[in-house]
């Protein structure tokens, strides 16, 4: 259940950014979550709903962008079929995880500023 500590880190970061920019209100925040981020999206949402009360995020909807994990060969760029061994059949190279497959990032915040 590390989702709770992640959400705490997220809200702390949003609060710091809102303060830094002298924001009057936070209107939205968007988080990108890869399939291999090691985080359960539903648990993350539940943790967010639990912890946002009493913070600048209390009324703020969370937009979760989920990214499926995909792999490809670093040499010939061929895609590795989902569920297959993570090695290129043609080159024998270990596959590389495509961008975003393990992401866990705060992409952006919508702030109301004076």
């Amino acid at each position: 259940m590390h989702e709770y500590s992640l959400v705490q880190a997220l809200i702390t970061r949003v609060e710091a950014e809102a303060r830094r920019r002298g924001a009057l209100k936070v209107h939205g925040l968007s988080v990108r979550m890869g399939e291999l981020a090691g985080v359960d999206p539903e648990l993350f949402q539940t943790a967010y709903d639990t912890f946002r009360a009493g913070t600048v995020c209390a009324e703020v909807p969370l937009t979760l962008k989920q990214v499926a994990a995909s792999w490809s060969c670093p040499t010939c760029r061929a895609a590795i079929p989902r569920g297959a061994a993570l090695r290129c059949q043609a080159c024998g190279e270990p596959a590389r995880l495509d961008e975003g497959g393990d992401a866990l990032t705060l992409d952006g915040i919508d702030l109301e500023v004076p």
Partner: protein
């Protein structure tokens, strides 16, 4: 303020951050890593399910590496009790417990704080025995030189497919309790196949803390990591550590 017409209305500004949620942990981990390498200590993060044999593997490591002259040390994390740290200290690995309370994983800050009252700097190889859990510890960088995942043969061949993030983070998988294989319907081929589907470059060693199988290879692997990080021949304990 609205600068278009000067009406005094507030503005809605989209702020792009693209920042890792674990950025704070990663900063603390970098700080740990610098200290570890500066002090000439190989630090490993040992993860695995509860009961996978993490502590037993370390006890056996102390025996198997006796001839190397390494000074070993460890911190051992559990939600409660210092049983594992007591076991390790008895086995010749001076250790202390980190009791995490309700926390299911270690983070870099927690490791840093626990090191302040430990003579880790005088060790050559230092183990961080993480909380027994195949989920949460996987995504927290602690500053280790490598991640080692202990998976016992009593856990089933499909564990890597169920917990892909943990195995993706592993630099080495130790298949433990291999002395039990004759008594189990365990298919090593199936496990290797599962690992190949979640790790691009699986490194696996089969070990038994009880029979000593594979421990020589494991100690050789540790030696190789020390070489790789330029730690061989480095005199531990000389680098200073100051905090403002």
């Amino acid at each position: 303020m609205c600068t278009t017409c000067g009406c005094g209305d507030t503005e809605l500004v989209p702020v792009e951050l693209h920042e890792k949620i674990l950025a704070g942990n990663d900063r603390a981990a970098r700080h740990n890593r610098e200290h570890f390498l500066e002090a000439g200590v190989l630090v490993l993060n040992l993860m695995g399910s509860p009961g996978s044999g993490k502590t037993a593997v370390l006890e056996a490591t102390a025996r198997a590496a006796a001839g190397k002259g390494w000074r070993l040390g460890a911190v051992s994390a559990d939600l409660a009790t210092d049983n594992d740290a007591v076991r390790l200290s008895k086995a010749g690995i001076p250790s202390r417990a980190i009791t995490t309370g309700q926390a299911c994983h270690l983070d870099a800050e927690l490791v840093h704080r626990s090191l302040h009252d430990l003579a880790w700097r005088q060790t050559d190889v230092f183990f961080i025995e993480n909380v027994g859990n195949l989920v949460c510890p996987a995504i927290y960088d602690l500053g280790q030189a490598a991640n080692v995942v202990v998976l016992s043969v009593t856990e089933g061949e499909d564990k890597p497919l169920k917990y892909p993030t943990m195995f993706l983070a592993a630099d080495l998988v130790l298949i433990s309790k291999c002395d039990l294989l004759p008594h189990l319907d365990f298919d090593m081929g199936k496990l290797e196949e599962a690992l190949a589907r979640v790790m691009p470059n699986p490194r696996v060693l089969k070990v038994s803390a009880r029979s000593g199988e594979g421990l020589e290879e494991w100690v050789a692997w540790l030696e190789k990591r020390r070489l790789e990080h330029g730690l061989v021949g480095k005199i531990a304990g000389l680098a200073g550590h100051t905090h403002g």
